[in-house]
Amino acid sequence: MAIEQQAATHAVPVARRRRLRGETAAEALVRLSGISVIIFVVLVFVFLAREGIPAFFEVEVGNLLGTRWYPTVGRYGLLPLVTGSLLVTAGAVLISVPLGLAAAIYMHELAPAWLREILKPLIEILAGIPSVVLGFLGMIAVAPLLREHLNMPTGLSAFAGSVMLAYMALPTIISVSDDAIDAVPRSYRDASLALGANHWQTVCHAVVPAARSGIVVAVMLGIGRAIGETMAVLMVTGNAARMPDGLSALFQPVRTMTATIAAEMGEVANGSVHYHVLFAIGIVLFLITFLVNLLASVLMLRRGTRRDQLLE
C-alpha cells in the first residue's frame, strides 16, 4: 500500500517530464525533416558538381562548346544536345500552350458541370501515364503516322518528341491556366458584359488578359516539365546528335541532353571523361530547370496563387 502510494506520487512528475521531453524531441524531429529538404537540394547540387566539374578540367572548353558529340573519339561538343533539347521543347511549347490554354478556357467557360467532371479526371489520367508508356506508343503509333503523312524516313524526329512532350506538359498547363482564369474577379466579367460585350469578347478582352500572369506561370512550368523529360524523348526522337539546320530540323532525328544521359550513362566507366561529361550535362539541366522554376515561383508567389501547382 505504502509503496503503491509512493509510486503514484512519483508517477506524475515523471510522466510530465517524459511528456516535455517527448514534446521537444517531436518538434526537433519535425523541424529536421523540414530542414532536410534544403539539405537534399544542396546534396543534389554537390554530387552533380563533384562528378561533373572534373569534366571542365579534362575537356577543353572549345571542345565542350563544339558542334560534334562523338564521345568515342573524344569529341564532347554539347551544342547539338543543347539545341536538340531547345528544339524539341520549343516545338512542345508551340503545340501545348495554345492547345492547353484553349482547353482550359473551354473547361472553365463553356463546358457544362457534368462534362467538367469527366474532363478533369481524364486530364489527371493523362498526367499519370508513365512517360515510358507514352514513348512506347510514340514509337509504335505516332512515328509511323508521321512517316506516312509527312513523308519522313522513319518518323522518329524532333517533331514526334515535341508531340509527346506537348501532351505531357498539357495537364500542368491546363490546371495552372484554369486556376488563373478562376482567380479573375467576377466584377471584371460583369463590367465587360454590362458594357455590351458578348461572352467571347469578355473572355478574350477581359478575362484572359487579367489572367495573363498566371498563364505565363503555366507556360514556364510547361517548359520546365518538357525540357527535363527523358524517356519518351529518348524513345521517339531518333537520337542523332546533330546540329539543327533551320526549321526542317524539326522533322529530322535529334538528340536531347536528357536522352544522352539516359542512353549513355549505363555504358560508361565510372570516373571516365565521358562519365564526367554526362554529369556536366546534368549540371546544365539542373541549372536550366532551377532558373525556369525560380522564375515561375517568383511570378506565382507575387500573384499569391496556390503553391502546390508547382509540384504537380
Binding site: S33, F47, L99, L122, V133, A141, A262, G266
Partner: protein, 281 residues
C-alpha cells in the same frame, strides 16, 4: 464577320482544342487495352521472362515495381509528413521557412534523369549501396517528397483551427494536439497525397536506370542490396533493345504498368471523395 459569328467560331475552336486534348487520352488507354489484353494471363503475370525476354512473363518486374513503390513510401512518408507538420504547425514566417519552400519547389522541378545521376553519385557510389533496391528507393523517395509534402501540408492546414484550440484548452500539449487530433483528421488527405506521389514514382524509368534496375534477373531480390527488374524499365528494354520482340508482350507489359499506375490514381481519388463526403467540418 459579325461578333456573333466570331463568337461561334471561337467557341468551336475552343471545343475542338478540348477534343484534341482529351481524345488521345482515350485512344491511348483504349489502344493499350485492346492490343495488350490478349497477353494477360496467369502465366504472363506469374512467370519470369525467358529466351532473351522474348517469351514468358513479367513476374520479377512486377514484383520489383511493387517493392520499389513500397520502398519509396518508406522513404517519402515520414520525411514528407514530418516536413509538412513543421511547415503547417511550427514554422514561422522567417528565412528558414522561405528557404524550405524554395527548396521544395526546386526539388519538384529537377528532371527525373538528374535524380538518377544524383542517386548514382550519392547512394550507389559514395555511400556504397551499389546498384540496389535501397539506392533506387532512396532516389525515388526524394523525387516523390515534394508532392507528399505539399499535399500533406494542405491536408493538415484544412483541419479547422478550433480543433487545436479545444485540445490545447483541455490541457493538451502542442505535440499531443498534433498527434491525437490534427494528424488523424488530416490522415485521408495525407494518404491521398502519398499515393499520388507513389503513382509518379511507380511509372518512372529515368531515376532507376542507374540506381537499381536490372535488364534481366529472373529470381526475386533477396535483400535491399539486390538489384531488381522493374516494369517501366522492362518496357523500355523490350521495346527498344530487343529485336524481334513479340508485340503482344510489349503491349501486355504496357497494360500492366498502366493499370498499376492508374489504380493508384483511382485509389487516391476514391479515398479523397469518400472522406470529403464523410467529413463533418
Amino acid at each position: 464577320m459579325s461578333r456573333g459569328t466570331k463568337q461561334k467560331l471561337a467557341f468551336a475552336l475552343l471545343t475542338a482544342a478540348a477534343v484534341v486534348v482529351v481524345v488521345p487520352v482515350l485512344l491511348v488507354a483504349g489502344y493499350i487495352i485492346w492490343r495488350g489484353a490478349g497477353a494477360i494471363s496467369l502465366e504472363f503475370l506469374l512467370s519470369a521472362p525467358r529466351h532473351g525476354l522474348r517469351e514468358g512473363g513479367i513476374f520479377p518486374a512486377a514484383i520489383g515495381t511493387v517493392i520499389l513503390t513500397l520502398g519509396t513510401a518508406i522513404v517519402a512518408l515520414p520525411l514528407g509528413v514530418g516536413a509538412a507538420i513543421y511547415l503547417s504547425e511550427y514554422a514561422r514566417d522567417d528565412l528558414l521557412t522561405r528557404l524550405i519552400r524554395m527548396a521544395i519547389i526546386n526539388l519538384a522541378g529537377i528532371p527525373s534523369v538528374v535524380y538518377g545521376l544524383f542517386g548514382l553519385g550519392l547512394f550507389v557510389l559514395f555511400l556504397r549501396c551499389g546498384t540496389s533496391i535501397l539506392a533506387g528507393s532512396l532516389t525515388l523517395g526524394l523525387l516523390t517528397l515534394p508532392v507528399v509534402i505539399s499535399t500533406a501540408e494542405e491536408a493538415i492546414r484544412a483541419v479547422p483551427q478550433s480543433f487545436r484550440v479545444v485540445s490545447v484548452s483541455l490541457g493538451g500539449t502542442k505535440w499531443q494536439t498534433i498527434r491525437h487530433l490534427v494528424l488523424p483528421n488530416a490522415l485521408p488527405g495525407i494518404i491521398t497525397g502519398v499515393i499520388l506521389g507513389l503513382e509518379r514514382a511507380a511509372g518512372e524509368t529515368a531515376p532507376i536506370l542507374f540506381t537499381v534496375a536490372a535488364v534481366y534477373l529472373p529470381r526475386l531480390p533477396r535483400s535491399v542490396f539486390d538489384q531488381t527488374m522493374a516494369l517501366p524499365y522492362h518496357l523500355f528494354v523490350i521495346s527498344t533493345q530487343v529485336p524481334g520482340m513479340p508485340m503482344t508482350l510489349q503491349f501486355g507489359t504496357a497494360l500492366v504498368l498502366l493499370a498499376f499506375v492508374l489504380s493508384l490514381n483511382a485509389a487516391a481519388t476514391i479515398i479523397r471523395s469518400h472522406f470529403r463526403r464523410r467529413r463533418s467540418w
